[in-house]
């Protein structure tokens, strides 16, 4: 018989994120009713995707805050006697020679370690900025509706219509010195639209609820209704989008650096771009930052995936 005849329980039971044991546990023993967040947390703890990504992110944060714990070499100190054509000494884990040297005699390992900070900072910074701006715009558009909504929605359409990468390229091109803040600002300038749309949709649904009407009837002020009553119930979809976009912004920063329009300092994208010139003779200059970048993006996208599976009731 076709697979299509399978019952609901069967399909859920085989959910790849391990929702199955949770569902069974919930059925077998009577528990006091949990909130959406309690449920989500219980789901998350049992999801292997969440565990793997958390461990990875924990290490990334360690590297970000304490790069000195991982290497004694300096990322910007070039010593041309360390010729870049000599093969990396893969046996000597953690030494400056470990992953070889780049064209200017700088330790690739040290650059990989110190480059983490730039990526993680841009990822978190942009996500926070985008979440704040997007939520605010979406909340105002959704709550007030009417002409305010029309104007803000068209504004969102305008920013959404410009290709993301091209827009940030144009903005960044006008800054000679591109610090972390400048890159965050440029990515955020075009990035807030998605959260704003999600938030607007969630607010419009929540606004109809009885408890919001009740709060209004009791004479609660507009900010109070918006932030105390509506906001907590619209956070779930926003958090899902924000978590996934963390990884996306890290990849975007590296892409911009790769094009020569990203951060001015130590950054994986810059190293991958430089290493690309020596790809025939010294693949490692490009390879190790690429691996590290991919693992980082993967970790944050997996985290987003796990959070979405936990928060989206449809996935249960």
């Amino acid at each position: 018989m076709p697979d299509v005849t399978k019952t609901d329980v069967k399909t859920d039971a085989a959910d790849p994120v391990g929702a199955a044991p949770v569902a069974k546990a919930a059925e077998s023993k009577p528990e006091k009713s949990r909130s959406l967040w309690g449920d989500a947390w219980a789901d998350l703890r049992r999801s292997w995707i969440f565990i793997v990504s958390s461990v990875l992110i924990f290490f990334l944060l360690l590297i970000t805050f304490f790069p000195g714990w991982f290497t004694s070499a300096q990322p910007v100190l070039g010593d041309l006697s360390n010729h870049y054509l000599q093969k990396p000494k893969l046996g000597e884990v953690g030494s400056p020679d470990w992953l070889g040297y780049d064209q200017q005699g700088r330790s690739v390992y040290a650059r990989v370690i110190y480059g983490t900070r730039a990526s993680v900072a841009v990822g978190f910074g942009t996500t926070i900025l985008v979440t704040l701006v997007g939520s605010l715009v979406g909340m105002i558009a959704g709550y007030f509706g009417g002409i305010v909504d029309s104007i803000l929605s068209r504004l969102t359409d305008v920013f959404f219509g410009i290709p993301f990468l091209l827009g940030t390229m144009v903005v960044l091109n006008s800054f000679p010195e591109r610090t972390t803040w400048v890159v965050i600002g440029a990515l955020g300038f075009f990035g807030w639209t998605q959260i704003s749309r999600v938030m607007r949709g969630a607010v419009i649904t929540t606004k109809q609820s009885d408890y919001v009407q009740a709060a209004k009837a009791l004479g609660a002020s507009t900010p109070r209704i918006m932030f105390r009553h509506i906001l907590p119930n619209t956070m779930a979809p926003v958090i899902v989008v924000a978590t996934i976009s963390l990884g996306v912004y890290i990849a975007a920063e590296a892409t911009l650096s790769f094009l020569g329009l990203g951060l001015s300092g130590v950054s994986w994208g810059n190293d991958i771009s430089d290493g690309g010139n020596s790809i025939r003779v010294a693949q490692w200059i490009m390879l190790y930052p690429s691996i590290m970048l991919s693992i980082t993006v993967l970790a944050f996208i997996m985290l987003g995936e796990a959070v979405r599976n936990a928060l989206d009731p449809k996935m249960r």
């Binding site: 085989a14 068209r154 359409d157 290709p163 144009v170």
Partner: protein, 310 residues
């Protein structure tokens, strides 16, 4: 239907004006001056510079420049003149767009065919090994940035195996464009696969599917007609927004494989402060994006007869 299309086209006008104005302001707010750039290392006499600036209309207030630019563009199809070469921008666009169109449409075809096929296979086997393997692979595809993927493809297929040239020499040859197109399509392919999978996995338990099976329809018809048609809406929505993204995202892929398309032209005009070229290219990308979205909305009605546009 006709009225709906007319209303949607009218709604596109403010968005189109807003987007082009934003791009225009951003580009012209850039420091640097293409006219001074014409003189290279020499200073250039102030009179000549002033005359050239006047000729290109750069001495007028920015909003007047925008108004003139849009007027010429809409009334005469004139996108201005490229300052460094003196060529009309339409000519530059005419060279670059077909190349990127070929690359993007090849990538789009790969993403639609492979993405939907993989998604259907995974969705029908939701929760089993095939599904998990597909999910894992797509997760990897999403995580590896496109330029890393491009380098790996060049390293493996061009340097080690020697199956292809590292650069594209003839951009009309689809065989040479295949590898760049695959690289360009990978991330979108993964998204299409995942969307299709989720949608199929959700709909295959629906009542109408049970009815179709109970009627004794062959499996191919149940899946191919009943299930597919009802599962395609989120996928089509994504595909619609992706056409524009593919053309914009080609900046990186074109640079990697040395293809002379829109991406390369955009990058060049950005670095050389060629405002007119940049605005023209981005305007066309925005138009493509807006029209694709309109098309998607119309497709909804074809896929789901419950959606009617009065």
């Amino acid at each position: 239907m006709g009225r709906y299309v007319a209303r949607r086209l009218l709604q596109m006008i403010p968005v189109f004006i807003g987007t082009t104005l934003l791009i225009f302001l951003m580009v012209y707010a850039l420091p640097g001056d293409p006219v001074r750039g014409l003189f290279g290392d020499k200073a250039g006499s102030p009179q000549v510079i002033a005359a050239l600036r006047h000729e290109y209309g750069l001495d007028q207030p920015i909003l007047v420049q925008y108004w003139n630019y849009m007027k010429d563009m809409i009334l005469h199809g004139d996108f201005g003149t490229q300052i460094a070469s003196g060529r009309p921008v339409t000519e530059v666009l005419g060279d670059a767009f077909p190349v990127t169109m070929r690359l993007a449409s090849l990538a789009f075809a790969i993403e639609v065919v492979l993405g939907i096929a993989l998604g259907v296979v995974a969705g029908l086997r939701a929760g089993r090994l095939t599904d998990n393997v597909v999910l894992l692979i797509t997760l990897l595809f999403i995580s590896v940035p496109v330029f890393v993927l491009g380098f790996i493809a060049k390293l493996v297929f061009a340097e080690q195996l020697g199956w292809m040239d590292p650069n594209v020499n003839d951009s009309t040859d689809y065989g040479q464009l295949l590898m760049p197109a695959i690289v360009l399509a990978t991330a979108s392919l993964a998204y299409v696969t995942r969307l299709t999978r989720t949608s199929i996995a959700e709909n295959r338990r629906a009542d109408y599917i049970r009815t179709a099976i109970a009627k004794g329809l062959p499996k191919s018809r149940v899946v191919g007609v009943h299930l597919m048609r009802n599962s395609m809406i989120p996928v089509i929505t994504y595909l619609g927004t992706d056409i524009g993204a593919l053309m914009g995202g080609a900046v990186v892929t074109e640079g990697l494989f040395n293809i002379q398309g829109v991406g390369g032209t955009i990058y060049e005009s950005l670095v050389r402060r060629e405002g007119t070229t940049l605005v023209g290219l981005v305007t066309i990308l925005v138009l493509i994006y807006l029209l694709a979205n309109l098309l998607v909305d119309l497709l909804y009605a074809v896929l789901d007869p419950r959606i009617r546009y009065a």
